[in-house]
């Protein structure tokens, strides 16, 4: 009988009970005896020299325990925050990797850069005193955008990065691309900006540091997507604390979207300060700090060209991108505009030759790193916009040009010209499912109806493919990752048959406590209530690389399967012993162990009990216990793919765009929990729509001040901004190289949606000669193109 809570069941998220009743345990909820509160003194300038810091007034204020600065950290030999990925430039030279100290030493490089920390009895006292710390700054000119940073006259962010260039990298076969362009009948070109975004996790970052002088152990409780990585980076590189003396706990975390992958300075500050002041130290960002200091996302300026033959077959793609990395290198920053971006530029198409150049630069802005999709939305947006332009150049329907160039399902596995090998995917099928969902045939009529009402209607397509399940360690290593990216799981049966799973993946909204438990319940035929998923604590979990890049299930779930395999093998041995049969005669199904051809059988619960209370195990062959651990290193990336279609209506009087329909067809391989998958898709779509229509992180060009530093100016998408989505998936193309056949679904919505929306907006405006509009397509921008085009139209 199928397990009602097994694989494929839409089990409601078990964790939601505690979240919805206010019983989640978030970092800021933790209170310790004698706990103090930290508030950071942050730079009000984008670029300034620190001439001096006078903390005497602050120190005299009520409740103040300490004021610590970069000089104190330097005296204690605290190191720089390390970068986890090294990129080499075209000329073979390594990227520029200037130091990034948790507290700035002599210069500040963005508004919000931490200069000192005030520790006090209460948070308000710490805030009061932070205002009283007098920092003597000599303000310097700033470069707030990537284009300014490389204009030749810009101030340097780091003296040892000439021209503000971190690296100048490329991928692909330039000669082949140049040759193909020389042969091309048609060339489509586009210049576009993928604007900077603020991640906006609902829970702001927080960190609580503790030090126990009796045994020299430190504990950091933090809002992290990967506590083991934080332990490794902070322990080994920043504070010099060995792993056995450093515990990192990432309890309930309220959203990350990538921004909580990275090791941040505040984590090191509270851990270090806890020992210095001899008391626990807690820091919780307020929303303004989140805007200023969470690692931002995207921020590309690109030029792209597609060479085609007379029939619109893609011959070659050439891309040049300027990527803004911000003031310092965040943990994974260098990999995002390179190996998570340029390697995806084939998209779903069999473009035979691709060449991409990426120049990554420092600016006087917050660091930029992975944000939901991380490089892949930038790639998808660029390709899918360019393909629409190409359709116009060749005169093909937008679905037809895609079909003509899709990598056919029969060509799988398919080696792209940009390093990746797709394992599976049926792109035409995704499109075939999508078209009737949006009644594509009826679109012309709907467009005419809109026009009759004085409105403009457009439809936009985006097909995407992403590389998830990050990452095969050998590949990652060859591409510059300083660590392999496997995952770990431990499956511990308890004597009475319940199970605790320890996973190195981390859930901060993804629902692992449900999905992972379904996999275990299914495998062993036990009720889901008997399975507990533990994550986020380096003292409990052997190791882990954490959650990002839609990797939890593909990599962490595969590790779980591997550990379950081991448990089953061991259980089989125990069963053979208990049933006095040969191990080879034991058949296993849904957690029942049966001697073949007999009715002699045992459940996993009976075996677990015997495993822990044995009297007569043959000790040479069989150890007591039923607790197994596995590390799983993926053989390849996984390749979720899909087709998103958006239909919009524009009010030409105001320029307001309304999304009237949105359909997403996705191939995530095998789906464990359709309800959770659908939720992930919905959230992802809204995030992509947010980028397309609303969100924009703006720094003032001159001063480098963050202009959009609150929700009054930074526009988040809301429920009433989006339609009811039509979401479909198919399971015909399971991943071929992991045991669950899963591909990952966390980022897909965000990757496809932005391109689909902008393609629809541009389509709606096509009568006005519009071929591109940069995001976000705000009402004023749309109104302007209509207004500027209208006299020309009238003249026609």
């Amino acid at each position: 009988m199928a397990n009602p809570n097994g694989i494929g069941a839409s089990v409601r998220r078990r964790e939601d009970q505690r979240f919805l009743t206010g019983r989640g345990n978030y970092t800021d909820d933790f209170k310790r005896l004698n706990m103090t509160h930290a508030v950071h003194v942050r730079s009000p300038y984008a670029h300034a020299r620190i001439l001096g810091i006078d903390a005497s007034g602050a120190l005299a204020m009520p409740g103040v325990v300490a004021v610590l600065t970069g000089a104190d950290m330097e005296a204690d030999k605290v190191g720089s925050l390390p970068c986890g990925w090294q990129i080499h430039s075209k000329d073979g030279s390594p990227m520029k990797e200037p130091p990034h100290y948790p507290l700035a030493r002599d210069r500040v490089r963005y508004v919000g850069d931490a200069v000192a920390v005030v520790i006090a009895e209460t948070r308000e006292q710490a805030r009061d005193a932070a205002e009283a710390v007098v920092v003597d700054y000599e303000e310097l000119p700033a470069a707030a955008t990537s284009t300014r940073a490389i204009d030749g006259s810009a101030p340097l962010v780091h003296d040892d990065a000439p021209g503000n260039v971190c690296y100048d990298w490329h991928l692909g076969d330039k000669a082949a691309v140049d040759a193909a362009f020389a042969q091309a009948t048609h060339v489509a070109t586009i210049d576009l900006v993928n604007q900077r975004l603020v991640p906006n996790a609902m829970e702001p970052r927080a960190a609580l540091g503790e030090y126990d002088p009796s045994n020299g152990e430190y504990t950091l409780t933090t809002t992290s997507q990967n506590p083991h990585v934080t332990r490794l980076l902070m322990g080994a590189f920043v504070l010099g604390i060995p792993e056995h003396k450093l515990r990192v706990v990432a309890p309930d975390v309220g959203g990350g979207f990538g921004s909580k992958i990275f090791h941040y300075g505040e984590e090191a500050v509270v851990t270090w300060a806890a020992r210095k002041v001899g008391r626990p130290v807690k820091w919780t960002a307020d929303r303004s700090e989140s805007f200023l200091t969470d690692a931002h996302g995207r921020d590309h300026v690109s030029h792209a060209e597609m060479a085609m033959d007379a029939d619109g077959n893609f011959l070659a793609l050439r891309v040049s991108t300027l990527a803004n990395l911000g003031a310092y290198l965040s943990t994974f920053a260098p990999s995002i505009p390179t190996y998570l971006y340029a390697t995806l530029l084939a998209g779903q198409y069999k473009t035979p030759a691709i060449y991409a150049e990426v120049k990554a630069v420092f600016t006087h802005t917050a660091p930029v790193d992975a944000y939901r999709g991380a490089g892949r939305p930038e790639a998808c947006y660029l390709i899918e916009r360019l393909v629409d332009v190409a359709a116009g150049v060749v005169g093909l329907d937008k679905t037809e040009i895609r079909r003509r160039n899709f990598v056919p399902a029969e060509a799988m596995p398919y080696q792209t010209p940009v390093a990746l090998q797709y394992d599976t995917g049926d792109f035409a099928k995704n499109l075939d499912i999508a078209l009737p969902l949006v009644d594509y045939d009826g679109f012309r009529q709907r467009r005419a109806d809109s026009r009759a009402r004085g409105k403009l209607r457009g439809i936009g397509f985006a097909t995407y493919i992403e590389a998830c399940g990050i990452a095969p360690s050998n590949v990652a290593g060859a591409l510059g990752a300083r660590a392999g990216l496997y995952e770990c799981a431990e499956v511990r049966f308890h004597p009475t048959g319940s199970v605790t799973v320890f996973t190195g993946a981390h859930s901060h909204g993804q629902g692992h406590e449900t999905t992972f438990a379904q996999i275990v319940a299914e495998r062993f035929g036990i009720p889901i209530e008997n399975v507990e998923i533990v994550h986020g604590d380096t003292n409990k979990i052997p190791f882990g690389m954490g959650t990002y890049g839609s990797r939890s299930l593909a990599v962490g779930g595969s590790a779980l399967v591997k550990a379950m395999d081991k448990v089953e093998r061991k259980a089989k041995k125990i069963a053979a012993h208990m049933l006095e049969a040969a191990e080879t005669d034991i058949e296993v199904k849904d957690g029942r162990f049966t001697v073949a051809g007999t009715d002699k059988s045992l459940g996993i619960g009976d075996i677990a009990l015997q495993a822990y209370v044995p009297h007569n195990f043959p000790l040479d062959e069989l150890e007591p216990g039923l607790d197994e651990q596995a590390f799983y290193d993926p053989k390849n990336f996984t390749y979720p793919n899909g087709c998103h279609v958006c239909e919009v209506e524009i009010d030409p009087d105001t320029g307001v765009t309304t999304i009237v329909n949105f359909a997403a067809v996705d191939d995530f391989g095998r789906v464990i929990n359709p309800l959770i998958v659908e939720g992930q898709v919905h959230g992802g779509l809204v995030q992509g729509i947010g980028q397309a229509l609303f969100e924009n992180c703006v720094y003032d060009e001159e001063s480098g001040q963050l202009v959009t530093g609150s929700y009054m100016d930074y526009c988040m998408p809301r429920a009433d901004d989006v339609p009811s989505f039509t979401v479909r998936y198919h399971e015909d193309q399971p991943c071929t190289h992991n045991p669950l056949g899963v591909k990952g679904c966390g980022e897909a919505g965000t990757i496809g949606a932005a391109a689909a929306v902008i393609n629809a907006v541009v389509d709606a405006l096509s009568d006005y000669g519009v071929t591109h509009m940069d995001m976000p397509a705000t009402p004023e921008k749309v109104w302007r193109v209509i207004r500027e085009a209208t006299p020309a139209m009238a003249a026609e």
Binding site: D653, T654, M712, D713, M716, D721, W783
Partner: protein
């Protein structure tokens, strides 16, 4: 927030006495004041919460129009059957303020005292020939708003209620800021017999009347009567959400929509 002393007087007289303290501030629904305090942009010595004063509450019919207490929450005005019957446009204006949480807390008095250039109520105060009654006097709606975040109120003067005249026809059309949901442009159109008032908020430093629109509509109360009319972009607000030119354009669009909605 900096520390302050919290007071909750029971009468207008007590509040008037309490507000005399140096650096004291009146607290309405707190939707503007509390974020300001949380960001440490103000440091009052005392907060005088007006929520306990019966004289500031309630919605009544008066002189054929409405008298609304300064402490009426936006949600109360939005949902009041009386308001919906007498001046439905006012109820729908209140329903469009911010979000549900803001409407459940924010008050009429707080909104007009604050005189945010992009607040909604100022347009109704001007278009509906309101009279603002304070603990000291009555101020004509036309004289109440004196500039960006500036009113005719004297230091420590407490708004008690606002009287709105009942129009024959009226409607409010708002183009909201997608981020904050305040008005980028809001236009309140009201017709009283042969007189038409068109009050514009959001577009400039303070609410203003679009006189050319008013006379065109007085002659012909149809949206088309505004064809070809526009306000000068010069001097209008400009920010990352909307340029002055766009705002000027929206004033005409919203005015037409208001007229169409007023019927």
């Amino acid at each position: 927030m900096y520390a302050f002393t919290y007071q909750r007087p029971k009468s207008l007289a007590d509040a008037a006495a309490a507000i005399q303290a140096e650096e004291a501030k009146l607290l309405g629904g707190g939707q503007t004041l509390l974020p300001t305090l949380k960001q440490r942009l103000a440091q009052p010595s005392d907060l005088i919460d007006l929520g306990g004063i019966a004289e500031l509450k309630g919605i009544r019919e008066a002189d054929g129009g409405l008298e609304i207490g300064a402490f009426a929450r936006h949600a109360e005005v939005a949902h009041s059957d009386l308001v919906k019957r007498v001046i439905p446009a006012l109820a729908s204006l209140a329903e469009g303020i911010g979000d549900r949480q803001v409407r459940n807390m924010g008050t009429l008095g707080g909104s007009i005292a604050n005189a945010d250039p992009s607040a909604d109520y100022p347009s109704a105060v001007v278009a509906l020939k309101a009279a603002v009654t304070t603990d000291r006097r009555t101020i004509a709606g036309d004289d109440f708003f004196t500039g960006m975040f500036e009113t005719a109120l004297e230091p420590g003067e407490i708004i008690k209620s606002v009287r709105f005249a009942r129009p024959d026809k009226a409607a409010y059309a708002k183009f909201r800021n997608p981020a904050s949901r305040y008005a980028i442009v809001g236009v309140f159109v009201a017709r009283f017999g042969g007189e038409v008032r068109v009050a514009v908020t959001g577009a400039a430093g303070s609410v203003f009347r679009a006189e050319a629109f008013e006379s065109a509509l007085a002659a012909d109360f149809r949206a088309d009567a505004l064809n070809g009319l526009s306000v000068e972009a010069d001097g209008l607000n400009a920010d990352i959400h909307a340029s002055a030119e766009y705002r000027a354009h929206l004033v005409t669009v919203m005015a037409k929509r208001a007229v169409a909605a007023a019927g």
